[in-house]
Amino acid sequence: MADGGSSLWRVLSEAYVSLKGLLRYKEALFWVIAFPILWYTLSVAVWGSPNPPTVNVGVYNADPADGAGNLSKALVDAMRESGLFHLRFYNSSGALLEAVERGRVDAGLEIPGNFTESILEGVPARVVEVYERSSWGDFSSQMLDGFLHAFTDSIRSRAVNMSIHYLTLASPNATAAGGWANWSQYAVRWLRFIDRPLHVEAREITPPLLATPRGVRAYMAVSMMGVEALFIGLFAGTQALAERKRSGALDVILASPMRGWELVAADTLSALALVGVSSLAVALYSLPAGARYAVEPGRLALAVALLALGTLFTIGVGLLAAPLARTPEGATVIANAIAFPAMFVGGIVMPPTVLPGPLRAFAENWPLGRALEAARQALVGQATPSEALAAAAPAVAGVVVVYALGVIVYRRLLASAVEYH
């Protein structure tokens, strides 16, 4: 074999051992398969169903009236049916107060004894809302407020319609004198205005995939692929030399016809293969977990390319950090120290839109963030593939620069390792 064999196989050598070793090394198995699936499962459990949150409301209803005319009962039933509240009943205003204070319920509603009676007599009725001053307490009371307003609106509507009814009954024969008729017409119009000063017209449209629970699950699955691109790339980059020095593999490689660029290419291919396996595992797991993707060959190919792009970037960052990693343990620390914060502030596990200003700008613009968001958009279907591609385009330049610098740094490191190691 004095011809030195073929580059292709040298470049495949590392992918061969990583894939062969994946199932046999527990730590590799954990990071590549178990970790993303575990995290995905937790994310779906916590954020995967975009149902409105339920507010626990304690109710003390002192209104004794019963039968169909009981308005307090109508109010409580309507609250229950809305699905927004989870109700608990108390039989004194003290018990209700205590429940709110102890946090057993998020807010309390006290309906006094004369509630139905007052409304029927046309006297303003009174309810008491109890809540704690905290963001969740405020939120709960606003939910309750909103509901009570809707209820008030319906009572007002009835009152107004009743007024209109009596007004037209009281109206003398319209032919007699024009004055009264004009006035009553005017009054009816005015009352209708009081009843509904604002007409809100709601039009329902089919929601985009992302707004559905299944879309959110798909979005999260692609996010997990991003987490893997982040970790695997950084580990591959920072470990590239440290681990080989320790094991002695560096000597074997240096004594082989393998050249520097082939070694970098081999590590890159191995990282890409692991991200690929990991992504496939997450994707397959996410389907029975309810995720739905926009599956078209173009979108799929684009998403694969974008994930690969993101992985190249993280490998590049890892290679840039490699000179700091003198031992495999040091490399692990460095990789984690970069990956963990980046996962949160880089728009990887959470969409950039939930991040505060400057972080959001970072998350939306650093290459992995951009590539991943474009991949999510492509697979969850909010953007057309060409829009996603356009969104990711600026990342390509960043990836090329960082990866190229990483390769330069690594080759220097290799050159100095040949001098002494």
Binding site: M1, G4, S6, R10, L12, S13, D251, S256, R259, V418
Partner: protein, 312 residues
């Protein structure tokens, strides 16, 4: 001996100032070339510079007609097979998979690498261990696997660092026989710190001492040149005064033991035994110790080489 691997004036100074190798030259052709010397004498460093793993501070290495540290260095590397002292195997991959990795690193296609790995496992007597994880192999099996690994590229030169250290005598002998067989058709360079092994198996020995080669040649001629005299060791209870014996020189005398040196042990032995008995000695045991590379090392450096007692 046509040299396939040759080094001239190799020198290595590490950044901490250690001069690990200081002007080593050697030539290795078909047959078994052994680097012999105690730990720290520069064998590993010389090998690493020779196979292209460590750049020399000064000096030249050529393998198969190409300069290892020249622009065509990859050609030189492609014609050598190297196994470090602790071959870096992945312990949870199988013996076969590890060999395939060595093959891929040398640019051999996957299918071909598999085929070749199977053949080599058979050659080194590991055919039953192909699907065993490396972690489950014994020390001797691991060393044989390392030899198979260095053969993956079908090299013209095999460079093996301490392939027998840490093995029991049986496993050692087995390994040397294998190396002998391999040396029949290619250049095999092996290091050891055990003089007896070098003496018994080498075609040519380089004796390392503090980063230099202090002697070289076939073991017999090294012994002939540097330590020609055998020792006759007598044990028992010795009289006050040692008798003088023709053709033998007294080296050691104490109440339990007498040692004479001679260049003609067969001739001197009867006279020596007679002389001792006549002087009143009671002999329990008399032994002729023929000189070996350990004695050569001792003669050249005044230091006993490590591992003399551990010789297999």
């Amino acid at each position: 001996m046509d040299a396939v691997l040759a080094a001239r004036g190799l020198r290595k100074v590490f950044p901490d100032g250690t001069v690990a190798v200081d002007g080593v030259s050697f030539e290795a052709g078909r047959g078994l070339t052994v680097f012999m010397g105690p730990n720290g004498s520069g064998k590993t460093t010389t090998m690493r510079m020779s196979v292209g793993a460590l750049r020399p501070t000064a000096g030249e290495v050529e393998a198969c007609g190409h300069r290892v540290w020249g622009p065509e260095g990859w050609r030189a590397r492609a014609c050598m097979g190297y196994s470090p002292q602790d071959a870096p195997f992945r312990d949870r991959l199988t013996a076969l998979e590890n060999l395939v990795w060595y093959g891929l690193v040398r640019g051999i296609p996957l299918g071909e690498a598999r085929r070749r790995a199977r053949g080599l496992l058979e050659l080194v007597g590991l055919e039953g261990g192909a699907s065993k994880k490396v972690a489950e192999l014994s020390g001797g099996m691991r060393r044989r696997l390392a030899i198979a690994a260095s053969l993956m590229g079908d090299p013209e030169v095999l460079v093996l660092d301490e392939p027998t250290s840490g093995l029991d005598p049986g496993a050692r002998l087995h390994l040397w026989r294998l190396l002998r067989r391999l040396a029949g058709e290619r250049a095999v360079v092996v290091s050891t710190h055990i003089p007896a092994e070098a003496e018994e198996h080498a075609d040519r020995v380089y004796i390392f001492h503090r980063g230099r080669v202090i002697a070289e040649g076939p073991p017999a001629s090294l012994i002939e040149r540097h330590a020609p005299r055998a020792r006759i060791v007598a044990e028992g209870s010795m009289p006050e005064r040692p008798p003088s014996v023709a053709g033998a020189v007294l080296v050691e005398w104490n109440p339990g033991r007498a040692v004479y040196a001679t260049s003609d042990p067969d001739g001197a032995l009867p006279a020596l035994v007679e002389g001792l008995l006549a002087a009143g000695a009671r002999l329990e045991r008399v032994e002729v110790r023929r000189p070996g590379l350990a004695e050569v090392y001792l003669a050249l450096t005044g230091e006993a080489p490590a591992g003399v007692s551990g010789g297999g």
